[in-house]
Subunit: 336 residues, 2 copies
C-alpha cells in the first residue's frame, strides 16, 4: 500500500457518525470493505506495475463520497447484496479514472497531498491508468444488470460532454452562467447522481425512490462542485491538499468568478486566459476573496443543497434519509 | 466532412473485390453504410464541437479492417441484422479511440496523412475524444447482448494491459521476444480478434465458428502488427502517411529490431532509449533495413498468417471464408 507523505485517508464516514449509531457502524464497515475491494479489483496478475500504479490515487485518499452515495441509496431497497458493493466500487473507479485523465489535461502535480501519476510516471501512464479503471468499472457494470449498465454508460457520456464543454468554453455571446451550471451538472453532478440512483437500482428500490435519489444526487452534486470552486479560491494549500487557484491557472472561469465579474466587470480582464504566474495568481485570488461573488456562489450552493433536502421528503423516513440530509450540510460546510 | 489535404479514404474493400463479386458488392455497400453510421453515432446535439472533432480521425481515413472483420464474421451466422452494423461501428470506434490516446502518448503530429487531434487542438481535447468514442462504443455494446458486451469489455482490458506492458517494457532478464509477442497480442490482435468473434456472436453463428474466428483474428492480428512494425522501418513517408521510425523515436523495440539485435548484438546500443534526432533515426533505419532481422520478422508474420489460414479450414466454405483467406495475403503483402 502507498504511504506517500501527506496523503490523507478517506474521511466521509464522519458525516454519518452524527446521524445514527447503527447506520454509522454498518456504513463504516462497508466503506472499509470497499477500500479492500478497490485494491483487489485493480490487481493485475499479468502486469505487476499496472496493478500497483492503478491504486496510486486511491491510496492517496479522497472522501469516498460516491461509494457513500451508493451505499445510502441501496438502503432504500432490499437487503444488501454483493451487487451493492460492486456498484460502490464502480462509482469510485469511474471517479478516480476521471482524476487520472484530468491531471493529464491540467498538468497537475499534486492531488490529495500526493504527487500525481502524470508527474510521478508520465502522461502515458496516467492516460492508461484512467483507461484501465474505466475498463474495470465496465467489467463490474456488466454484472449489475441492464438498468445499472445503461445508467453507467449514460454517465460516461455526460462526463465527457461536461469536460469538453468546459474546455471549449461557452459560445461567444452565450449565457456564461448557464453554461457554467451545465458544465457542473455534466462534469460533476452526473456521477454523484448516478451513484445515488445506481445504489437504489441494484438494491431493487421502487422507481420513484430511484428517481428522487437521482434528482437529489444531481442537486447535491452541483452544490458540491460550487463549493469546490469556492475552496479553490478561498482555502489554503494545507487544507486543500494542492495549491489553490488551479482553475485560474487553467483559465477556467468558475461560478464564483462569473459572479465576481457580474459585480465588477473589470474582473473579466484579470481572468481572461490561463494565469501561469504564481504571483499574478495570488493577486487575482486576493481580488476574488474580497468580492461579493464568493458569498453569492455560497448562497447558490446552499440553494441547491436546500432543494436536495426538499427532494428527500418524498423518501421513506429511514436512517439513510437522515444521513443524506446530513450530507447536504457536510457538502456545503466542508473546508477541504 | 473533413477534407484535409493528404487524408486517404478507407480501402479495405479492394481485397474483397478479388474474391467473389456478389460478396464484394454486398460488403462494399455495408462498409459505405458504416461510414455513414460512424458519423451519425458521433454527432452530439449538445456540443457541436465535440461531434465535429470526434470524426477528425475517422475522416482522415483508415483501412476499416475491424468493421470488415465484423461483417465477414457475421456471414457465418443468420441473415444480417442491425446489430451486425452496430458491432462493426463499435469495433472501429474502439480502434479510433485508442488512436486518439496513442497520439497523445506518442506526441504524434501526423496520422493517416492528416494532422493529429493533439496537434490540431490539444492533449486535453484528444484524451476527451478518445473517452467520448469509448463511451459511444459502450452505448452500442450495451445493445448487443451479454456475450458481445463481455467480449468488448475483456478486449478493453487487454488493450490497456498491452499498451502498459509496451510502455513499461519487459522485466530485466525476461524473454524480450516473448514480451514483444504478448504486447502485440494484447495491444493489436485483441481488437481484431474481438471484431471477428463479435460479428459471429451477434449474427448467432455456432460457438465453434465463433471460437475459430477468434483464433483467426488473434493470429492475423499479430501478423498485421508485425507488418506494421516492418513498414515503420521499411516504408517511406509518402506511403506510410506519417514519418517512418515512430517506434525508434518512442524508444519502442519492435520484433524486427529484436531480431536484428539477435543477429548483431551491437544494434542493441543503437536502439537503447528514444531517438529524438531525425538524422540519427535515419541512420538507425539504414542499419535496420540492411539487417536480416526484417526478413526474419516477415517470415514470422507469414507463419502467423499461414496458421490463420489453417484455422479457416474448420469453417463452412462460404464466400466470406475465401475473403478471410484473401485478407491474410492482404495483411502480409500490404505496403501502407
Amino acid at each position: 500500500m502507498n504511504t506517500s507523505t501527506g496523503a490523507r485517508p478517506f474521511s466521509a464516514g464522519a458525516v454519518v457518525d452524527a446521524v445514527d449509531a447503527e447506520l454509522a457502524a454498518a456504513t463504516s464497515a462497508e466503506l472499509g470493505e470497499i477500500e479492500t475491494r478497490l485494491r483487489e479489483t485493480l490487481r493485475d496478475p499479468g502486469n505487476e506495475f499496472l496493478g500497483r500504479a492503478a491504486t496510486h490515487l486511491i491510496d492517496a485518499g479522497g472522501k469516498r463520497l460516491r461509494p457513500m452515495m451508493v451505499l445510502l441509496g441501496a438502503r432504500f431497497g432490499g437487503p444488501r447484496t454483493e451487487n451493492v458493493l460492486d456498484a460502490a466500487v464502480l462509482a469510485e473507479l469511474v471517479h478516480v479514472a476521471t482524476l487520472y485523465h484530468d491531471d493529464v489535461m491540467d498538468e497537475a502535480e499534486v492531488r490529495h497531498g500526493a504527487v500525481t501519476a502524470n508527474t510521478r510516471w508520465s502522461n502515458t501512464v496516467a492516460v492508461l491508468l484512467g483507461d484501465y479503471l474505466l475498463a474495470k468499472a465496465a467489467q463490474l457494470g456488466a454484472g449489475l444488470g441492464d438498468a445499472a449498465l445503461r445508467l453507467q454508460i449514460r454517465t460516461l457520456s455526460r462526463l465527457v460532454r461536461g469536460q469538453m464543454a468546459e474546455t471549449t468554453g461557452p459560445q461567444p455571446g452565450a449565457d456564461r452562467i448557464g453554461h457554467c451550471l451545465r458544465v457542473m451538472s455534466d462534469k460533476s453532478a452526473s456521477l454523484i447522481s448516478m451513484s445515488a440512483r445506481i445504489g437504489a437500482v441494484v438494491a431493487g428500490a421502487d422507481d420513484h425512490v430511484a428517481d428522487a435519489l437521482e434528482v437529489y444526487g444531481e442537486l447535491i452534486g452541483v452544490a458540491f462542485q460550487i463549493c469546490d470552486d469556492i475552496l479553490d479560491i478561498e482555502a489554503d494549500e494545507r487544507d486543500l491538499g494542492k495549491a489553490p487557484g488551479t482553475d485560474l491557472r487553467e483559465g477556467i472561469v468558475t461560478l464564483p468568478v462569473l459572479y465576481a465579474i457580474e459585480h465588477d466587470p473589470r474582473v473579466a480582464d484579470l481572468v481572461a486566459g490561463p494565469i501561469a504566474d504564481e504571483t499574478r495568481r495570488a493577486e487575482v485570488i486576493g481580488v476574488l476573496r474580497a468580492s461579493p461573488g464568493l458569498e453569492r456562489a455560497r448562497r447558490e450552493a446552499d440553494r441547491h443543497a436546500q432543494r436536495a433536502k426538499d427532494v428527500l421528503h418524498d423518501l421513506p423516513p429511514i436512517p439513510a434519509r437522515d444521513a443524506l440530509f446530513a450530507l447536504c450540510d457536510f457538502v456545503t460546510r466542508r473546508t477541504t
